[in-house]
């Protein structure tokens, strides 16, 4: 199999961008409901980077970030990962729990389940966008959460991409209530056999 990502042409990227757009729209609506606030989104950006650059995103390889990983089953299998930087996860959790937005997070059980729930809602928004566009039946598993160095969290999607490619592809999303912004990166990682199926279902196989 040739390099799966470098084979993506601009049409493929447009499709991915569209999934990003619709997914982020769903995610903004879900966030607005959850936080009881008006939430806007910026146009999601598709980013492609080399492994050696991976450590420079999200504020550096040693910066603590939150990663939420969902396994996907159904017509295609694979995984989806949503990464929030520390300021974003702090903001979301504190709004959700009615605390001052600048309070530091202690990662107790309640905070972790709040983070999992946020990740679940956001990832679910993209998953339903993808499912609607492709007519594929996609079901997420219970999410797994990890809080650690950005490089270490990013190694998980990077390794999956590494099996077929020398680059990583992801969608960068920015949500804002007009004052504060939340930045989240979304990685969609179909298993080997699912990649073709997915592109085919999108009409670009």
């Amino acid at each position: 199999m040739a390099d799966a990502i470098s084979e993506l042409n601009s049409f493929h990227l447009d499709v991915l961008r569209e999934i990003g757009n619709i997914g982020a729209g769903n995610a903004a609506t879900a966030l607005a409901k959850l936080l009881d606030k008006k939430i806007d989104m910026r146009v999601p950006q598709i980013r492609i980077m080399k492994f050696s650059e991976v450590s420079d995103v999200l504020g550096g390889a040693e910066t603590p970030v939150e990663g939420i990983l969902l396994q996907i089953h159904g017509d295609i299998s694979g995984s989806m990962m949503f990464i929030l930087d520390y300021p974003s996860s702090r903001l979301l959790v504190n709004i959700l729990m009615g605390k001052p937005v600048e309070s530091d997070l202690d990662y107790d059980e309640l905070t972790c389940s709040a983070l999992k729930e946020i990740g679940n809602i956001l990832a679910g928004s993209y998953l339903s966008a993808l499912s609607n566009m492709t007519n594929l039946k996609l079901m997420p598993d219970v999410p797994a959460l990890a809080i650690d160095m950005a490089g270490a969290i990013l190694s998980v999607p990077a390794i999956e991409f590494g099996k077929n490619s020398d680059t990583v592809l992801y969608i960068e999303n920015v949500f804002t209530d007009g004052r504060d912004s939340v930045i989240g990166d979304l990685f969609l990682i179909p298993d080997d056999l699912s990649y073709g199926k997915l592109l085919e279902a999108l009409g670009v196989g």
């Binding site: 492994f51 050696s52 991976v54 990983l69 160095m149 270490a152 590494g162």
Partner: protein, 161 residues
């Protein structure tokens, strides 16, 4: 003060004394650190996957344990090391996410560690220390002074191998 040289994901670098090679935020990847006590040459590779058997033409060799370690040893020899004087230390290979249902994809850290040990053994390079496994990220620094490998974590302290 020795020069601090960064080695990114799927990269390899060697350096002559005095130098420090570092790789930041190792997760399921492995950092393989080589040290030659005679020349004080050091080398570090940040591998992502166990075997190049899945590679396609033109792929980055440094991302696989087998080709990455072979190339790193070659680079050490190129800057004047004798393979018989090289020893190795490895770190990383964590499982960052815990799932109720374990599948092979999630055990990639463990497989990376096993592959790294096997490749070193096949080249007769002694593995003198390792800090692998767990569920947390690691930053490592390899010093040419004495081959010490410093392992930093968030929440699990600092170790010297």
């Amino acid at each position: 003060m020795a020069e601090l040289i960064k080695v990114g994901m799927a990269e390899l670098k060697v350096a002559r004394h005095p130098a420090i090679l570092t790789t930041l935020g190792l997760g399921s990847c492995i950092g393989i650190a080589l040290y030659d006590s005679r020349t004080k040459n050091i080398g570090l590779v940040h591998i992502m996957l166990p075997s190049s058997s899945i590679a396609t033409a033109g792929m980055n060799r440094a991302k696989f344990a087998d080709t990455g370690i072979q190339d790193l040893v070659q680079e050490m020899v190129r800057i004047g090391s004798d393979i018989r004087n090289i020893v190795a230390k490895i770190a990383g290979g964590a499982q960052m996410f815990a799932f109720a249902t374990q599948n092979e994809t999630m055990k990639i850290g463990q497989r990376n560690a096993e592959a790294s040990r096997a490749v070193l053994a096949s080249l007769n390079i002694p593995l003198v220390a390792e800090d692998t496994g767990g569920n947390y990220g690691r930053t490592i620094e390899l010093s040419s002074e004495d081959g010490t490998l410093k392992v930093k974590t968030i929440g699990f302290g600092i170790k010297y191998l």
